[in-house]
């Protein structure tokens, strides 16, 4: 009971300190931010030690077999070189490990994007024009919106233009018209994203208000 009360009181205090930003930047908000950053860093360090370094590196080196130790020599060496990045005179020693990380990440990201996003999304767009889907009015409208939205949105980002006789710079008339439709689709998309962000923030605010209300016994 006491622990829950203290934790709830700390949570209430930090919540108010963060909400104080509504009136502007103030020390209470800064204190809350520093507390959150410090707690997060400490927690992450603890997680990294207890959940990564100790079980995956230290314990196998200590109690593991020779083969396991040999296998861990490479990641141990790379980890040590990566630590050299924090020391400027020897920061160049961390370049191989950093290069390996970047290279592997890039390769994985590109491969995953091509196989997991690009090709499937292209296939889905092509399937939107499937005659079976176009048979119904809903399917036809949906497919038409997807196709029109895709083409017009891409046309919006076509910035090639020519100089007119009066000195103005304008795109081709057809491109201007298509791009205008694309701008509508983009505006709707940005509106949806803003609505999603507002909805998420609104839900978080409601949760905090319910927490406050429950803390004071009104919720």
């Amino acid at each position: 009971m006491t622990t829950d009360f203290l934790s709830s009181a700390a949570a209430i205090l930090l919540t108010v300190m963060v909400l104080s930003y509504l009136v502007g930047d103030n020390p209470a908000f800064r204190i809350a931010v520093h507390v959150f950053v410090g707690v997060t860093a400490g927690y992450v360090a603890a997680v990294a030690w207890w959940q990564v370094l100790l079980p995956d590196l230290i314990l196998p080196l200590v109690v593991g077999s020779a083969a396991t130790r040999a296998m861990l020599a490479v990641p141990l060496l790379l980890s040590g070189l990566l630590l050299m990045k924090a020391w400027p005179p020897l920061s160049r020693l961390g370049a191989p490990a950093m290069g390996m990380l970047v290279g592997v990440a890039a390769a994985v990201a590109i491969g995953g994007a091509i196989q997991g996003t690009l090709f499937p999304q292209l296939q889905a767009t092509l399937e939107s024009t499937d005659p079976e889907r176009l048979g119904s009015l809903e399917g036809f409208v949906n497919s038409a919106l997807v196709l029109v939205g895709l083409i017009t949105s891409l046309a919006y980002f076509q910035f090639s233009a020519s100089v007119k006789a009066d000195g103005s710079v304008r795109r081709l008339g057809l491109i201007e018209f298509v791009a205008a439709i694309g701008a509508v689709f983009l505006a709707i998309t940005l509106g949806v994203l803003f609505a999603g962000a507002y909805s998420a923030a609104l839900t978080a605010l409601i949760e905090r208000l319910h927490f406050l209300a429950s803390f004071i016994g009104l919720g």
């Binding site: 992450v44 994985v108 196989q115 909805s199 998420a200 919720g219």
Partner: protein, 739 residues
């Protein structure tokens, strides 16, 4: 070439020690430099000059140096004759190498031009008829012009050519005595001047005439008796007027009949020879006036001068000559003895005449002696005539504009040089270029215009507006939360992706192993727990799955424990019994890929370093496809995309259901539409359908729904009011601008 001297006439380079240009024979050094400044310029003392010695050493041949020595020796005796009561005469010539030869005897074996022979032939023969009178001797000796004055540009011929033939003839005059040579020279020059104005002829001669009149009668030279052996008719032919006692022919003079009717015979003065013949005579030159003066008459009152002033009275009228049969006349006439040895001149050929006698025609090059030709420089390949013509080029630009012949025309000067060709600086600007220029100018002008500063009142209004919006939301939502009002029902329509997600969960076999990925941050805990609670509650309630919790975020494990112990507390899921915590999955997408390929290798131990893969929860689960379903709880697009992409190949037939926040939901929806995700619960709206499907359990959606709905309405209202206010301000500003 340090010792090179550029000729001021032709521009060619010559050695520094050369007194004359090798190309145009122009004097390269002044007389002062050649002879000295204070010395009397005489051939006799010329070798005393050091410069002269040097030049001689360099350019004068030995024979010429010996000749000069002899000439200087002879000039001493000759000078002694002239010193008595006579003004010092100017050297016959002092401008070339032949200066020293002015008093040297001409070798008999040298080749003499015909016209020179005709002039000096009488003296060479030594006939008495060639000897001038003492008066003429004295006059002409004094009247011998300096070499640098005798050739005048007014002669109507080239200065160079006139000098050449004059110089060539001058040494020969020494053979017949200084007086005779000067007389010949004066005759020749007088003949040349026949085509020019006589008033401009030889001003120096007039001056010398006056000096001669004032000087005493010079003694006759040895061997030069005055007017002896000279026929009277010859004297008359030379233009000496009658009435002169010393020149009046005696009655015994043999006068040809054909001369009896000549004007000279009648005693009228002869002033000019027939111009058509162009034969130089003494009557053409000013020395006749000197003769008059020597006779005691005033020059201005003499008959000769009067005749000259009245006009030209030819001694041999052209009409008479044309009428006469000249050959017959000469055949019948009795020639004097002194003319017997003279070959008949080929006077009919104009080319045979001396250069001064060739009127109206360019003077032909003199027939120079061989030794003179040997001294002349070899003519270069450049055409001298073309060079002279090029030297007359009129400068059309530059500082020498308007000047002619200032710069020598060098060979090859007209060829293209290394100087860059000049181009016009005028730009060819088209209308398109102007349009670009206007556009650029407008852009630059827009950049330079200062932006109006926003007043403090505007900032204050923004702050007040922010406070007002915050107050409306906090107060409105707080009031709804505190009051617990249920004015907004849950949505009747459930999104397709939510229905698909619920169906995917309901299709799982009971007691299956389900992988729950908690990839969201603590900041979105309120939304994510409310969104995922209904689905997870529905899953736990219906299927009682064994859960394996994992997260790519360090805080995911703690959030998972909070979720299971908080929102799903009624399901009483215990760690290690009903679920295992695989903890943090490091490496980002690489870690996800590694886990997708080999879960046991990527995460060998649990969050508390326990053996999870051998536990009852994960019994028989070694691969990703062994999980009955994967439920992804994420608040970001990146996390959802990574799990979709990296597990697509290893997931097998296991369904992937995503529970996303309202912010990431729209971006993850295409993956559901493409079939890569089997269900999507996005935001509180999507969770409402799941909660409805779960009979309103656990009830978080319903708890938040009124405040959520109120907040959406308030946001819509505020956006509408703000847009209306903005439109109103814009209209007012436009009206103000138009006013």
């Amino acid at each position: 070439m340090e010792d090179a001297v550029v000729c001021p006439n032709c521009g060619e380079q010559n050695p520094a020690d050369m007194p004359f240009c090798q190309h145009c024979q122009w004097r390269l050094r002044t007389l002062e430099a050649e002879w000295g400044t204070d010395q009397e310029v005489r051939p006799s003392n010329a070798p005393a000059s050091p410069q002269r010695d040097k030049s001689e050493d360099a350019s004068v041949p030995d024979w010429l140096r010996a000749s000069r020595s002899q000439a200087s020796h002879d000039s001493a005796a000759f000078g002694g004759r002239l010193e008595a009561g006579r003004q010092p005469a100017a050297p016959p010539s002092d401008d070339d190498l032949l200066a020293g030869l002015a008093q040297q005897d001409q070798p008999q074996d040298e080749e003499i031009p015909d016209w020179v022979a005709r002039i000096v032939g009488m003296s060479e023969s030594g006939s008495p008829g060639q000897a001038p009178s003492s008066e003429n001797e004295s006059e002409l000796l004094e009247g011998a012009p300096p070499a640098d004055q005798a050739p005048s540009a007014e002669h109507g011929i080239g200065q160079e050519e006139s000098q050449s033939w004059a110089r060539d003839s001058l040494p020969l005059a020494t053979d017949i005595g200084p007086q005779e040579g000067a007389n010949r020279y004066a005759d020749a020059m007088g003949t040349q001047e026949s085509g020019t104005e006589k008033s401009e002829i030889n001003e120096w001669l007039r001056n010398l005439d006056a000096a001669a009149a004032a000087s005493p009668e010079p003694p006759a030279g040895p061997g030069l008796s005055a007017s002896e052996n000279v026929p009277t008719w010859v004297r008359r032919m030379t233009g000496v007027p009658d009435g002169q006692p010393q020149e009046t022919p005696g009655p015994a003079d043999p006068v040809p009949d054909w001369l009896s009717g000549s004007p000279g015979r009648s005693g009228e003065p002869v002033s000019a020879p027939p111009s058509s013949l162009g034969i130089p005579t003494r009557s053409q030159g000013r020395p006749l006036e000197a003769t008059d003066k020597a006779s005691g008459e005033a020059p201005a009152q003499s008959a000769t001068s009067a005749a000259i002033s009245r006009g030209v009275v030819p001694a041999f009228p052209l009409e008479d000559i044309q009428k006469l049969d000249v050959d017959a006349v000469f055949a019948s006439m009795q020639m004097p003895v002194w003319m017997a040895g003279v070959n008949p001149p080929e006077a009919t050929s104009v080319s045979d005449l001396p250069p001064a006698a060739q009127e109206e025609e360019p003077i032909a090059p003199a027939d120079l002696p061989s030794w003179v030709r040997a001294m002349r420089p070899v003519v270069s390949g450049v055409d001298q005539a073309a060079k002279l013509e090029a030297d007359k080029h009129l400068e059309g630009r530059g500082p020498l504009l308007g000047l002619q012949g200032v710069l020598p025309a060098l060979p090859g000067a007209a060829l293209p040089s290394g100087r860059p060709e000049s181009h016009s600086m005028k730009l060819d600007v088209s209308e398109r270029h102007r349009a670009h220029a206007r556009l650029l100018e407008s852009m630059i002008a827009a950049e330079t215009q200062p932006l109006p500063l926003q007043g403090t009142g505007q900032f204050r209004s923004h702050r007040m507006l922010r406070w007002a919006i915050s107050a409306i939301l906090v107060v409105g939502l707080g009031a709804n939360v505190l009051t617990g009002a249920r004015n907004f029902p849950l949505p009747a329509g459930v999104p397709n992706e939510s229905i698909a997600g619920i169906q995917a969960v309901e299709s799982l076999p009971p007691d299956a192993t389900v992988l729950a990925v908690f990839d969201y941050e603590p900041a979105t805990v309120g939304e994510m727990e409310a969104t995922a609670a209904s689905l997870m509650h529905h899953l736990l309630l219906l299927k009682h799955p064994r859960l394996a919790v994992i997260s790519t975020s360090p805080t995911g494990s703690a959030l998972a424990g909070r979720f299971l112990a908080g929102a799903l507390a009624d399901r009483a899921y215990m760690r290690g019994v009903h679920y295992v915590d695989l903890g943090y999955l490091p490496g980002g997408l690489a870690g996800v890929r590694s886990f997708a390929q080999n879960p046991t290798a990527a995460v060998p131990l649990g969050a508390s370093s326990e053996q999870v893969w051998d536990s009852s929860v994960l019994l028989g689960t070694r691969r990703l496809s062994d999980f009955a379903a994967i439920i992804l709880l994420t608040d970001s697009l990146e996390s959802g995309r990574v799990w979709i992409e990296q597990t697509a190949a290893t997931r097998g037939t296991s369904p992937l259901v995503m529970v996303a926040s309202a912010q990431a939901g729209p971006m993850l929806l295409p993956y559901f539409d493409s079939g890569q995700a089997d269900g999507l619960i996005a935001g509180l709206n999507g969770a409402a359908g799941a909660e409805i499907a779960n009979n309103g359990l656990p009830g978080l959606v319903r708890r938040y729904w009124d405040a959520y709905s109120l907040g959406l309405y308030l946001a819509a209202l505020l956006i509408t009011l703000g847009s209306t206010w903005h439109v109103g301000i814009g209209i007012r500003e436009r009206r103000a601008e138009t006013a």
